[in-house]
């Protein structure tokens, strides 16, 4: 319990820092940020620019702006879109569920594929199966998700017609985007499972388990895998953030609704409140997930909570 509280206390300054950085985004824009928002939108009259400046509170001193910003953020008010005037928090609430769905689906896929192929490679170490799995894993890490997405569309949507081209609605629309997003993570997890299993397989308790005459399957599942799981969980936790951010690109490939598409269109049209709100939201979710993984880690490996 003390460990959990300590870990929670550590997350607070990080969140404050993250919010300060996203607050500063607007102020780091070279030149006049309000003028930058209208570049490529036919410019704006001095009156319009003043109105936006007033709405964003840019006429106040910086510390006052930050305090106001934090007050609003804590009340769930992330401002309004410059382009559509819609509240940013509503845009996020609408766009987050599909992104979360995609992230979780690709995470699940990555864990199932990564762990099973990692075990196979470790057990068949040095054989052809191991080499093939590791080669695919290396290719998986090197293949851009957006290209894999396009390939999957060409093969499974255009040619075989098994799945829709546009990745929306229902599980059928989720399969290809989840594979495109999760493949690289599966490759990373497979490599991690293989190497940590190989390390554990040489340990005394595994030798003992074998000497007792346990079946190989039981040795791997009961004794080896459980101990190899610890570094794997860390990697899985780290991958979650990567997948959440990677969804930005995959959502574009499959024209899927989500935080990623919202962010990209905000960046393209320089809609600052939306970009700020989206970045802050994803970063906070990531910090919270890491917190969760750390707590889980403490629960699985009793040494950690005792040591600290």
């Amino acid at each position: 319990m003390r460990y959990a509280l300590q870990r929670l206390a550590l997350a607070v300054p990080v969140m404050l820092g993250v919010s300060a950085l996203t607050f500063l985004m607007l102020h780091l824009v070279p030149g006049d940020p309000v003028a930058a928002m209208f570049i490529g939108h036919g410019g704006a009259s001095a009156e319009q620019m003043n109105e936006v400046r007033e709405r964003l509170g840019l006429n106040d001193p910086l510390p006052v702006q930050y305090v106001n910003y934090m007050k609003n953020v804590l009340q769930g008010d992330l401002g309004r879109s410059i382009r559509t005037n819609e509240p940013v928090s509503e845009m996020i609430l609408r766009n987050f569920p599909p992104t979360l769905q995609l992230t979780l689906a690709s995470m699940g896929l990555a864990i199932v594929l990564g762990v099973s192929f990692g075990i196979i490679a470790a057990v068949k170490r040095g054989r052809i199966v191991d080499n093939v799995v590791m080669l695919i894993a290396l290719a998986g890490v090197s293949m851009p998700s957006f290209w894999l997405g396009l390939l999957l569309i060409s093969i499974f949507a255009v040619w075989l017609n098994w799945f829709p081209i546009i990745g929306g609605g229902g599980w059928r629309g989720l399969v290809l985007p989840a594979v495109a997003l999760g493949f690289a993570a599966a490759a990373i997890i497979a490599r991690m499972v293989r190497s940590s299993l190989l390390e554990v397989l040489g340990e005394n308790y595994v030798v003992t388990a074998r000497a007792k005459g346990l079946a190989e399957q039981r040795v791997i599942m009961r004794h080896a895998l459980r101990n190899a799981a610890i570094p794997v969980i860390t990697i899985v936790g780290l991958q979650f953030g990567g997948l959440l951010a990677g969804a930005v690109i995959v959502e574009q490939v499959f024209s899927r609704q989500g935080i990623g598409r919202m962010l990209v269109s905000a960046l393209q049209s320089r809609d600052f409140p939306v970009a700020q709100g989206g970045v802050l939201f994803v970063a906070v979710v990531y910090v919270l997930v890491n917190l969760l993984v750390d707590l889980l880690y403490g629960a699985i490996d009793p040494r950690i909570s005792v040591e600290r």
Binding site: I153, G241, G242, V253
Partner: protein, 294 residues
Amino acid sequence: MAGSAAGEIGRFSGPRSQWAIVWRQLRLNRAAMIGAALVLFEIVLALTARWITPYDPFDQNPLAALQPPSREHLFGTDDTGRDLFSRVIYGAQISLRVGLISVGIGGGIGIVLGIIAGYRGGVLDNAIMRVMDLLLAFPGILLALAIIAILGPGLFNVMIAVGISSIPYYTRVARGSALALRDREFVLGARAIGCGDAHITWRYILPNVLPPLIVLATLGIASAILTAAGLSFIGLGAVPPAPEWGAILTLGRKYINQAWWYTTFPGLAIAITVLGINMLGDALRDALDPRLRR
């Protein structure tokens, strides 16, 4: 006098002999050699693009639009009749430049900050590392997106964004190594004979923190190429008609059900480049890690 004595002390740490061992390890590693060959091939293509490409990468020819691969057009043509082979080869120039410049920015700043943090310690160390923790709180591509929000879209801004978002990784590794070296005999010896901090850092700390950072930088080039192509693909980086691989893929996406070659070759180019660099980077890591030496 002091300089030469310090030189003697420094030589005991023996960077030269280590590199000889590393080179021998790499030559024995088949994956390393394949990776190196791919990378070298790519560099040659990029450098000789002007002479080996049959067409200008920007030349449009509406009469030859969307033609499949043939003897005239090895990789086929795009929707405006531009030769995709020429565009992909020119794309290698852009991608290598993006990789090197991004890693130069991230590695350059990150290593300096890491050495300062590790060597000086104290408040400065704490301040630098807390800022790095903050940057790491933005997952994956998100920090680069935030920086693009500030700087605006464009290939050069993408390089800066990708570079800055990689700083914390270099800083962490450099700090760890510098911290371990700070109290080693050859550093204490150099300090005892009156060498200044700048001299010690340059002559004794930097060469010894470099090996793990070289691995990081090699793999960093691959991930910078991947990220930058991704950002161009979503319309935040290179702008068409630039023959950037990610930007070509964006254009090709519209023709995915009639021209498979349009997206296949630029994507393959990214994957092969990144694969080659990753293979080389993995092998370098194994060669530099004494525990894994064969």
